[in-house]
């Protein structure tokens, strides 16, 4: 027998104890008998969620101050929110080392305690579940609760912060629509648009949105909250169409734009995290190693500059100091970023942000060049742009390149003895 279609209205999706799982918690179901009773009272038992039913529960339940109806809606939100974070996890979980439980903790935080309907003039007391925030802002005339939950997940500060740490940007529809060019919009719709809307309508709607969005931003007095279009705005875009239809169309346009940017065929090639150099890269300005008689001078100067740069590479306080020391120590061993992230207990995006070996190599090469300027072969440094940049690039590439028969960049090789000479930074006790 299949699951009852009305489950999203009377079972929360939330974090539950899971002793057998790695973290002893997992996403699971928590039934709400009060919600089930409210469903039965309103004749919705056994019926699948839908936009009209969401609206009915919202309006009738709110008018009656029916906490059971509110629980139904909270359950509904939790199912929709779980769908969104699972979609994110499917798409980026592996490449960006996302943790589903960490993501769930931001939006699946409703344990089902009976709560009053949110009142605009009464500040909330105690913990306020994400679902309640969604319901408080819900505009049934603009979208169903499932879509509305998606919008709120997209705007959720804690989730956005978590994803940002992992090298991902949670994108809201409006800025993306407003700042994408008509050319890009057309290209995106041709590749990823839905057949329900023709290209001419897309062009017209996009153009109208851009024009009215600019005006809306200019009229906005305070810009300290995330802007959302209201009914009046949506009706101005296309007076012949209902506001909720225009909103769904705009979301479809934004979805096409996001897919276009993710599409490897149409988007510029992107290396999501700092590129790892292949062994043997970067031997010199023209791809040739420096002359042997010059190598000694260059290496001495680069090593001296590295020693000068080391304090900046390690500078941090508290837990950050221990993390940086761990990251550089493992970098010096020749590990790649993913290996470093596993060894030091952080995501690869954070490794990339904290290490920045290419940026530090650039600084070291520049410092070395300031010391070499004016010497034979470096006469043009400082006076000629092209010669200066060529020589900086050559030194940086040499530093990030690997000597023959090794797979460790010179930066790592030279860093190891310097780190060994520094007292180890003890990790903070938990």
């Amino acid at each position: 027998m299949g699951a009852s279609p009305d489950i999203p209205y009377h079972q929360f999706r939330t974090l539950v104890a899971a002793p057998r799982s790695a973290r002893a918690i997992a996403i699971g179901s928590r039934p709400s008998p009060l919600a089930a009773t409210a469903l039965e009272r309103r004749g919705l038992t056994g019926l699948a969620p839908s936009t009209p039913r969401d609206r009915y529960l919202f309006e009738a339940g709110g008018a009656d101050d029916d906490r059971g109806a509110l629980l139904c809606l909270r359950c509904r939100v939790s199912h929709a929110a779980e769908q969104r974070i699972e979609a994110l996890y499917r798409q980026f979980g592996s490449s960006h080392q996302l943790d589903l439980i960490d993501m769930a903790a931001t939006v699946l935080d409703d344990q089902g305690a009976p709560l009053p309907w949110p009142q605009a003039d009464q500040p909330p007391a105690g913990h306020r579940p994400f679902a309640l925030e969604v319901i408080e802002s819900f505009r049934p005339e603009l979208a169903g609760l499932g879509q509305w939950t998606r919008v709120r997940v997209q705007s959720h500060g804690a989730l956005a912060q978590l994803l940002r740490e992992h090298g991902l940007l949670l994108i809201r529809d409006w800025a993306l629509l407003a700042h994408s060019s008509p050319t890009r919009m057309e290209r995106a719709w041709r590749s990823h648009g839905q057949a329900a809307l023709d290209l001419t309508s897309v062009r017209r709607l996009h153009q109208s949105f851009r024009r009215h969005y600019s005006q809306a931003m200019a009229d906005l007095v305070s810009r300290r909250r995330r802007w959302e279009p209201n009914i009046a705005f949506l009706e101005r875009l296309d007076p012949a169409v209902a506001a909720d239809v225009t909103r769904r169309r705009l979301q479809a346009l934004a979805s096409a734009l996001r897919r276009e940017r993710l599409d490897p065929l149409t988007a510029p090639k992107q290396e999501y995290l700092e590129a790892e150099l292949a062994p043997g890269d970067g031997a010199g300005a023209d791809g040739h190693a420096p002359p042997p008689e010059r190598i000694g001078l260059l290496e001495r100067t680069l090593r001296r500059a590295l020693a000068q740069q080391l304090p900046a590479m390690l500078a941090a306080t508290g837990a950050e100091a221990a993390l940086r020391a761990c990251l550089w120590r493992h970098y010096a061993l020749g590990l790649r970023q993913r290996e470093i992230s596993e060894a030091c207990g952080c995501c690869q995006a954070k490794v990339s942000r904290r290490l920045q070996p290419s940026a530090h190599a650039g600084v070291i090469a520049t410092t070395a060049l300031t010391q070499l300027a004016g010497q034979e072969g470096f006469e043009a440094v400082g006076g000629c742009l092209k010669a200066t940049e060529t020589q900086v690039a050559a030194l940086r590439d040499y530093l990030l390149g690997c000597p023959v028969a090794t797979d460790r960049p010179r930066l790592a090789l030279w860093l190891a003895p310097l780190l060994a000479a520094i007292p180890p930074v003890p990790p903070l006790s938990p």
Binding site: R164, S180, S181, G383
Partner: protein
């Protein structure tokens, strides 16, 4: 009351709609973004990121922000500002994170002697505290890309892909180059013989009056560049492509060369692998008509002029292109009261500027004007 049955939605919600995108590799996160920002916050957020990254890399660079920068006077700024970094004038222009290009304001680039030397483009997501810095352009690179900038009324845009080298390039340039090595688009304002005398007197040391050549006087300014006076028709023996006018009155030659991409003159030319001559020839007819003929030719007949050399004489510009040139570059300027600015630029950014050349001395010019108008006057 039972709710109505649901109707099919032609634009149904897509559960797999990607709600996030990977951050581009040249993005920087603000560690302390503060409350949600708006478009007006973009320049401030970029400056914050700049300081953050300088601290991260241990760079102790002098940074003077917009409010104190004299380059910003008279410019409202808009979506950007001008700041000083290690003595370099840098224009910051911001764009929304999802835009494909930014709008380039011309006002700061029209300030003679104060126009920026570098352009930093920034794409800002102010709600999330993310800044994308794809790189910088020098003034010369900007001019290569936007011919005629900053003149003209049409707004200019630059795509994200036009910028080079990331933030690292900005730090490298300001640490290694001297500010003089990056010439801004506009040189100091052109002094004119029509201006009052005090300005003329103070500018006299930098002026060259070509009529002095007829008396064998080259002037210190040109001599310092290694210039030499030649027989009037000396050009006839060098290049058949440029036929010196039979009315040649005086000829000046300035030997030049390229050393590691840098234009050198005088003793510095000795190490040049590519050598050429800048020839200035004052010409005149019996009826009083005068003109200046300027040409650039290789040292040895049959040699090529180096590629990416651009000769500017007043408003005229001519260059050797990407393949170099087997023909000399030649320009002609009719006589007038205004000084003539002549410069030679190499694609890599190296540039040499001559002192302004005048056909007439100030008193002679005023005297001729007085005679023409029948008025007595004094300078």
């Amino acid at each position: 009351m039972t709710p109505p049955a649901p109707t099919p939605d032609p634009l149904g919600d897509d559960p797999n709609d990607p709600m996030a995108l990977p951050l581009p590799p040249d993005s920087l996160l603000l560690e302390d973004a503060g409350p949600i920002g708006c478009a007006a916050d973009r320049p401030r957020l970029v400056m914050q990121v700049l300081r953050q990254q300088m601290a991260e890399l241990g760079l102790n660079l002098s940074l003077q922000e917009a409010a104190a920068s004299p380059a910003n006077r008279g410019w409202s700024g808009g979506d950007g500002l001008v700041f000083l970094l290690q003595g370099f004038r840098v224009q910051l222009v911001c764009a929304p994170f999802w835009a494909d290009e930014l709008l380039l304001p011309a006002a700061p680039w029209r300030q003679p002697g104060q126009s920026p030397q570098l352009l930093l483009g920034a794409w800002v997501e102010e709600e999330s505290g993310v800044v994308r810095l794809p790189g910088v352009l020098t003034a010369a690179e900007l001019l290569d890309r936007c011919a005629g900038f900053p003149h003209g009324q049409a707004p200019r845009t630059l795509p994200l892909t036009a910028f080079l080298g990331g933030l690292e390039r900005l730090f490298q340039l300001v640490r290694l180059l001297s500010p003089e090595a990056l010439t801004p688009l506009l040189t100091p304002a052109l002094p004119s013989l029509q201006t009052p005398l005090p300005t003329l007197r103070t500018a006299a040391a930098a002026l060259v009056v070509m009529r002095d050549w007829l008396e064998g006087q080259l002037g210190e300014a040109l001599a310092a560049l290694g210039a030499e006076l030649l027989p009037a028709t000396a050009g006839a023996f060098r290049s058949a492509a440029v036929q010196p006018r039979s009315a040649a009155l005086a000829t000046v030659s300035i030997p030049l060369g390229l050393v590691l991409g840098r234009i050198q003159c005088g003793p510095g030319r000795s190490g040049a692998s590519e050598r050429f001559q800048l020839i200035l020839q004052l010409c005149g007819e019996g009826d009083g008509t005068e003109w200046l003929q300027v040409w650039l030719e290789p040292d040895l007949p049959g040699d090529l002029l180096p590629q990416r050399l651009a000769l500017s004489v007043g408003d005229q510009v001519i260059d050797t292109g990407l393949d170099g040139s087997s023909e000399p570059l030649s320009l002609t300027v009719p006589a007038g009261n205004d000084g003539i600015g002549i410069s030679l630029r190499h694609g890599g950014g190296s540039q040499i500027e001559l002192p302004f050349l005048y056909f007439f001395r100030a008193d002679l010019a005023q005297g001729e004007a007085d005679h023409a108008q029948g008025e007595s006057g004094h300078v």
